[in-house]
Subunit: 339 residues, 2 copies
């Protein structure tokens, strides 16, 4: 492995000058610059990044914490984050927490040990008081997740209002016994959704009964299980709001298999507007998040915080979402005809 020293020797110049050329600094004769470039090429020299990191105290790397990449929403998110980061010259380390508190904290160590310049948290299962200390080691930005605190910049949509809209839509479609299936994590975001959902119900003299609230529902399989539960224990259910399109798809799949009609017998709303929600038969009503914009802003903010070490004022960026109405809630027909 050729080092800067080797290049210097070969070019008959000093390390300093070589370094200047590498970093495009001024004050180097064109002539010597050429000589150095030749030497570098001849030796196949590439600067050693570990040494650079040590010297410059920067890693040009960002950690992205998220539950799992296989959830298409996070897949989309990391695709955009990586791309945007790459544009800024940053690399991205994937950190799957699988909703485990200890994994989340383990990965935050990357910040402490200076393996990354900043962290994006799209997974947030710990209490804020356990996260906060890490702010001393470098910038953290919340993406999609959010909370009450003012200590950190957050980029997200208004999940409470989104859930409210979805619930309202189900009510307007004639649903009267609406179930609520949420992801497992007791995060702020899922609490917000539940509040919005319940608000809409309350305004129409309804409420979410314990039996219609199902937790820890994360993927297609869980959706199928959820339907089986409802079918057996809550056959009167006529609508359901879910935390993700995968869950919604699982429900639609299982329900159809059992001869229930969607939406006549059961109206279903998903979340995230994944391709899947469009492809299902019937297509699933869902909430669209502007993933790319969110990702873009997240990187922009984080990179900015990394560069301007002065703790900039934290901000909150709330992006608009859209309720996309599809067949799975299109109840023009009479609800609940003989099943």
């Amino acid at each position: 492995m050729a080092t800067i020293e080797d290049v210097a020797k070969l070019a008959g110049l000093s390390r300093t000058t070589v370094s200047r050329v590498i970093n495009n600094q001024p004050y180097v004769t064109e002539e010597k610059k050429i000589k150095i470039n030749e030497a570098m090429k001849e030796l196949g020299y590439v600067p050693n990044s570990s040494a650079r990191r040590l010297r410059s105290q920067r890693t040009e790397t960002i950690a992205v914490l998220l539950p799992r990449v296989t959830n298409p929403f996070f897949g989309q998110l990391i695709e955009s984050l990586e791309q945007k980061a790459s544009d800024y010259g940053y690399q991205v380390i994937v950190c799957q927490t699988h909703d485990k508190k200890y994994k989340e904290l383990d990965y935050l160590q990357l910040l402490k040990t200076k393996q990354v310049d900043g962290v994006i948290m799209a997974s947030l299962t710990n209490e804020w008081m356990d996260i906060e200390p890490f702010l001393d080691s470098g910038p953290i930005v919340l993406c999609n997740e959010y909370m009450e605190t003012q200590d950190v910049t957050m980029i997200h949509i208004d999940h409470k209002q989104a859930a409210y809209d979805a619930a309202l839509h189900l009510i307007e479609q004639g649903c009267r016994r609406i179930a609520y299936a949420s992801g497992g994590r007791e995060t702020y975001i899922s609490k917000q959704r539940k509040i919005g959902f319940c608000d809409a119900l309350r305004e129409h003299n309804m409420w979410l009964s314990k039996e219609l609230e199902i937790n820890e529902v994360l993927d297609v399989g869980d959706g199928q299980t959820t339907f089986q539960y409802l079918k057996v224990h809550q056959p009167e259910v006529d609508g359901i709001f879910t935390g993700s399109d995968e869950v919604a798809a699982g429900i639609v799949y299982a329900a159809s298999k059992e001869g229930w009609r969607i939406p006549e017998d059961l109206a279903v709303v998903g979340f995230d507007n994944q391709m899947l929600s469009l492809l299902m038969v019937p297509a699933i009503t869902t909430i669209e998040q502007p993933v790319e914009q969110i990702a873009s802003k997240t990187i922009q903010v984080l990179v900015d915080q990394i560069k301007n070490k002065l703790s900039a004022p934290t901000q909150r960026f709330v992006y608009p979402y859209e309720l996309i109405k599809r067949k799975s809630t299109d109840c023009n027909t009479v609800k609940k005809t003989a099943r």
Copy 2:
């Protein structure tokens, strides 16, 4: 930021001794060990990873090159890779090439600049002669992709045979004009699939006509477009093999919308056995790859190569796949009744 020096001072000992404690090395009195641990805690000391990297010449990081995370197959792959790598104490950097040769080469620089200890290529669009030089900088393993060369370890299924099986299945179902939709990249793997596909046809006195071969078909949208093309220009088509479940789903979606019956009017085969293929109506016949096993072996091999710097003999690991037959090719009924 506290350094090892600070800890040493506070504990009244030398850097060496502190280093020994950090790295769990023997020859330290229990008493001093305790003292040092206390000092570390008091200072909130964590070893600086850049310095460690420089000193040890290891980064404990692996780069994974793949086309895009949003393709669910690669999503699954990276989920498993990251998890497995994490078990071995390695981090994973995501590198999306978007099938661009230059991006692939850019990311390979990570190996040269010692930012990673090894590279997993699940994307391979460059010629091997352009990749090979990078082997001097560190180990590379091909995952899912493969070629003729013997210079590198490869982990994959037999794509040629898989495509053969799929084609044969379509033929057995009575298809006589079978289209072939492949991903865009002119990779070895897609060439293999095409060979297998054509072999099956030839053995039954058929062949792939230019008009039935569609390239650059990558996602659901492309699948829809493909169907539109076939409908207009090749209405006699009665079966299609696709390179991915997303494409297959797009075709099924578009075809159903246009009133074509699947599989009676058009039998469809996907690839990868993503959840999507099961959820579609009708469910899509597909090829299942043992992603987790592939990922697991890939990490194992790469880590092994990283540790045993001696160039171990390269190997080829071929895993079994499975043709999963579903409704989209279940042509027991007469083919091509009035459309």
